[in-house]
Symmetry: C2
Subunit: 342 residues, 2 copies
DNA sequence: TTATTATGTTGTATTGATTTAATATATATC
DNA sequence: GATATATATTAAATCAATACAACATAATAA
């Protein structure tokens, strides 16, 4: 089946290809009403669908957006095994589709460049998740297209960012435990890297302890990776080695699930013996038993907002609306935290 | 920053653009060793990256694969909220990346066509999830590119398929309950549509009941959608209206989670009072409490296999290896099913 | 009526890479 | 040394669309 090109349409409608192009690209003013209608009719009858390759070759726009998920430790080349990212991508996709952009989804082998994809495909823009100071940093600057960073604290006006106030979130979670009478509070988290979200949440945790006059004990920090398995280990550890700990703040819900399992495995009950608070409020958190008390961020909205922001930037209607770029957080009280009597 | 084109490289290396093209596309035999080396050197020094739009314009290959997730009932335009799909996409992505294909991920508004995307982007192939007999059927045939269907029973040699033996899986699950002494077994499931996977699982359930001489009771079928919420409702229903039911087969793990919550809400314990078996073995199933007994399919492998099969088809090395296209199932015994005494 | 402006319309160059056919050069055969 | 063969190399056509500049026609102004 041969492809129907703009020439075929032109011939059938008895006009030039230029007329077709004008008629189809919002330049109806350059075409009379009669020809416009005739063109539209023939386009429909021939079922003509323009070729994006040819189009993007001339006007350097591809209507393609790259969505890049760097490999997280522990999630080996399985970029969507982390449900948090799935929800974000889901939001991005729905928003992009609404605006007639297509989405190229890709993981990123460490070492390999971002710019390859971008240049090869003439991407109109890129959304990158959870990147912290890194070698990629400089490379990103070279590729001169709009870039939105989700959950990044890279401090450069060149990059637009969508995120949350992670430090505040860390404070909220910690304070919630403190307010419920907990005095020995552990933190279970992924690697604390400079300018990563996890560092900020940790900072919130620490400052809130100080504010409450509680002792910050480095032995209460279980730092490894943002994975279920790490949570399990930490849970067992807490149960066996630290009976004084009654509250645990996990910097991700996934980790909180692991902690709860680990605790139960070591015969501690949640929340009767130990309270656990998570972070993110992924979908599973309300389905888990016990239902997880956590700091909610609207994950899907994050994706949607990132897509909107990117599209605005591409189309030049840049609204540098910082308030809308730091999304709200909310404490969701469910079943995994209880009050202890002092 | 101006783009570096093949012409720039040609000029810098003192050869024609044709030579560059040969050197870069595995046609080294048409180029002498010296020029090849010179070209490679200049390509590296100029950091030349070819433009896929131009390339795909001439050879009608885009190195792009479309991954299409039709909107599931209940998952309104949030294509990845279903963790099952996320895992598949994850598998597809890793495999495609390995072979230098890029992936366009998109949901599909009901009504809108598949062929638009395909033709616009000159896709080399398409992977479509969970499509059953439908109006889209005919449209798919018109677009003459390789298509892999995941979890579909559309019977047409034009479409290649990757799936599992859903009926057998349904049997396995049901038999497991029967073997554990259960005689009143409910089925909680999404809409049973002709040629959908759910229908097959239902058929397996039914036939296994008959085989065991048990009564098939339509009142035990809770048919609505493959969603957590439906599971909750069904769980409550069973607890309140059907105390005789001791075993429940959910045609998806997500639904099983809901059932367990619903049962607990209505003061039934799992597995002490009621046993629940799921289907899929998504990641959460081993993390859930109680850990879910389920029929495992290797979800990520499904994605990988689909990608492999598609790439083979595109490249002409078609291995119509049916055995490898029906992936194995395995009963995973965990904590949500227990033996009842008769 | 002629000059001027506005409105449609089209021919053609352009985009970046591939590929065919033609050409130039080197090597082997007799 | 002349002819045939193999090997490098390149000029130019091609892919499908866009957009500039040129031109024709109609509408308006003088």
């Amino acid at each position: 089946m041969k492809r129907i090109t703009i020439k075929d349409v032109a011939k059938a409608a008895g006009v030039s290809t230029a007329a077709i192009s004008y008629a189809l690209n919002g330049k109806e003013s350059k075409v009379s009403v009669e020809t416009l209608e005739r063109i539209q009719a023939t386009v429909a009858s021939l079922n003509y669908i323009p070729d994006f390759s040819a189009r993007s070759l001339v006007n350097k726009k591809s209507n393609l957006i790259g969505v890049i998920i760097p490999e997280t430790e522990g999630y080996n080349s399985a970029i969507l095994e982390n449900p948090f990212y799935s929800e974000i991508v889901s939001g991005i996709e729905s928003e992009l589709r609404k605006h007639n952009y297509h989405l190229i989804l890709t993981g990123m082998d460490r070492g390999k460049g971002y710019s390859d994809l971008t240049l090869q495909r003439n991407l109109d823009g890129v959304i990158i998740m959870g990147i912290y100071n890194d070698s990629l940093y400089e490379e990103l600057k070279k590729v001169n297209i709009p870039i939105i960073l989700i959950d990044s604290y890279i401090d450069d006006t060149l990059f637009k960012k969508i995120g949350i106030d992670d430090e505040f979130g860390g404070s909220m979670a910690t304070r919630h435990l403190i307010d419920h009478g907990h005095t020995h509070i552990a933190l279970v988290t992924g690697k604390i890297k400079k300018d990563g979200v996890v560092e900020k949440r940790f900072l919130g945790y620490k400052s809130e302890l100080e504010k409450a006059g509680l002792l910050y004990n480095p032995a209460y920090i279980f730092e490894d990776s943002i994975r279920y398995e790490h949570g399990v280990q930490a849970g067992i550890m807490v149960a066996q080695k630290h009976p004084e700990i009654t509250g645990i703040f996990a910097t991700a819900d996934m980790v909180a699930f692991g902690i709860i399992s680990g605790l139960q495995e070591a015969d501690k009950r949640v929340p009767e013996d130990v309270s656990v608070i998570g972070f993110d409020d992924i979908m599973m958190s309300s389905m888990f038993i016990p239902q997880l008390t956590t700091i909610r961020q609207d994950i899907k909205a994050k994706g949607i907002r990132a897509a909107q922001y990117l599209i605005q930037t591409i189309q030049g209607s840049i609204s540098n609306d910082l308030e809308k770029n730091t999304l709200p957080l909310k404490l969701i009280e469910r079943q995994s935290v209880r009050r202890v009597l002092s």
